[in-house]
């Protein structure tokens, strides 16, 4: 039912878009009609698949790397007081630097290939994942810690059996945010300098006034982003069935 409603909304929006183009007669190099975009999607499918694959690999590797690095950082910060004292300020200040401003540097250092885009996606994901998991690890129910202490548990055992599982819902929120922003990182990286990928394709289509191709690339990117988010969301729900707010979006109507 929810999917059907979303599809109807989408169809109405596309209809309005088509109507605006037909009624105003806006040239197709400014705003192509949805049907023209659909045509471009079909005609340029091999090209879109080729560049889409590049971007998808960048997004997935960036997401994996960012989540892994963020988890390790959060666990280190939570486990060692010294790490917390010395690294927390660095971590916070590092966020004051806009990650986008680093994109040209990353391209300079890591080249025009995939590495700089993966690094970009990793960087943009790293902070939300680290803070989400670290916050979760710090906010363990005090009673559980008391209980563990009376049971004679070691610090490591408490971290592994209580604090980490208890932090997983917070970590899940961080990973959801990461899934949503990972495509941004990859595309920004491609805009700054690349020879492949959907961002590259969009820039070129724009320069050559192939606005229908630009929209087609954008549509593919949108499908990636939505699918990735839905997949990550489903994975988190499946992994944490005990989470009390498993279905927050379920409205009663």
């Amino acid at each position: 039912m929810r999917i059907l409603r979303a599809l109807i909304t989408l169809a109405v929006l596309l209809g309005v878009w088509q109507a605006i183009v037909l009624l105003t007669g806006v040239p197709r190099y400014i705003l192509p009609a949805p049907l023209a975009v659909a045509d471009a999607l079909q005609r340029q499918a091999p090209l879109l698949i080729q560049h889409g694959t590049t971007t998808l690999i960048e997004i997935l590797l960036g997401l994996g790397l960012g989540v892994a690095l963020g988890s390790v950082s959060a666990l280190t910060l939570a486990s060692f007081r010294t790490a917390r004292r010395w690294l927390m300020p660095v971590l916070v200040v590092s966020q004051a630097i806009p990650v986008f401003a680093l994109a040209p540097l990353l391209v300079l250092w890591l080249g025009y290939g995939m590495a700089s885009k993966i690094a970009m996606a990793t960087l943009i994901i790293y902070f939300p994942v680290t803070t989400a998991l670290f916050d979760g690890l710090r906010r363990t129910e005090a009673g559980w810690l008391d209980l563990a202490r009376t049971m004679g548990a070691s610090r490591r055992s408490v971290l592994w059996h209580i604090r980490l599982p208890a932090a997983l819902p917070a970590f899940g929120s961080g990973v959801r945010v990461a899934a949503a922003v990972a495509p941004i990182g990859a595309v920004i990286g491609e805009w700054v300098g690349s020879s492949s990928g959907l961002g590259y394709l969009m820039l070129h289509a724009n320069a050559r006034m192939q606005i229908d191709l630009l929209f087609a690339a954008l549509a593919v990117l949108g499908v990636f982003a939505v699918t990735l988010y839905a997949a990550v969301d489903a994975l988190i729900r499946w992994a944490l069935p005990w989470q009390p707010d498993s279905h927050p979006a379920q409205e009663k109507d």
Partner: protein
């Protein structure tokens, strides 16, 4: 109803004596030079109004709060109490991601002990004893408040420690559930050394062999009241009602 379940290891009942206990909060002495004797093999109830410091006293014995000098907590056999207590709090403190059975077996998990078939069998037997046979695989979220506290009792018994410390374990439950659980607890804890903190005179009289009233500022612990008969005592016992009046008078004075 159930066959008595022998503890895995037979402990000689342990007594504990607290002397010179002192607690200051914000420069004000909540109690000082306080003495409490926890007799071996029976349930001692510490009854007092909120904010009198009884929970902190229990936490000192549990090793969860740093005892303020010159507080001295000595066990009857002279050995340290560390690792020889089982703790039960007002909240059930069940871990939502573990099944009921795994929650009962939490102590072994926290200490990294091997999960032997004998251990699992004992956990199952304890669950049956608190009336939760067949719920082993369920998650805590599917249980009612009373059932959750029953699991907590099973977990406390699973620890099989010479000293059981209970901090208002039933105060979050409705009246009828509370009475039922008092029966379960009194039956299950028979023969063990128990210190239970409560603000409910009826609860203290139903399951305590010895009832102390802790009141005043700085607080003092009154002489032990030993209600006749064996716990769990009937709610409508006239002697109990008379004693309840007496306890209420002591609490007020």
């Amino acid at each position: 109803m159930n066959a008595p379940l022998r503890p895995e290891t037979i402990h000689a009942p342990l007594s504990v004596t607290v002397t010179g206990a002192r607690l200051t909060y914000g420069g004000v002495a909540l109690f000082s030079d306080l003495t409490l004797h926890i007799e071996a093999g029976v349930t001692t109830c510490l009854l007092g109004p909120s904010g009198v410091g009884k929970t902190t006293l229990l936490r000192m014995v549990a090793g969860l709060a740093e005892p303020e000098p010159p507080t001295s907590i000595l066990s009857g056999d002279g050995a340290p109490l560390r690792g020889r207590i089982a703790y039960m709090a007002q909240q059930d403190l069940l871990l939502p991601w573990l099944t009921v059975l795994d929650n009962v077996l939490l102590g072994a998990r926290m200490r990294g002990e091997r999960r032997t078939p004998a251990l699992v069998e004992r956990a199952r037997a304890l669950l049956e004893r608190v009336g939760l046979a067949g719920r082993e695989k369920d998650r805590p979220a599917t249980l009612s408040g009373g059932q959750r506290q029953r699991v907590a009792i099973a977990r406390t018994l699973m620890e099989d420690k010479p000293l059981v410390l209970m901090d208002e374990p039933f105060s979050a439950l409705d009246a009828l559930t509370r009475l039922r659980l008092q029966d379960v607890a009194a039956d299950a804890l028979a023969g063990r050394t128990v210190l239970m903190v409560t603000h409910d005179p009826l609860e203290a009289l139903r399951i305590g062999h010895r009832v102390h009233v802790m009141t005043g500022r700085p607080a003092t612990v009154g002489p032990a009241l030993e209600p006749p008969g064996l716990p769990p005592r009937a709610v409508d016992d006239p002697a109990l009602l008379a004693l309840q009046a007496e306890l209420l008078r002591r609490l007020a004075g």
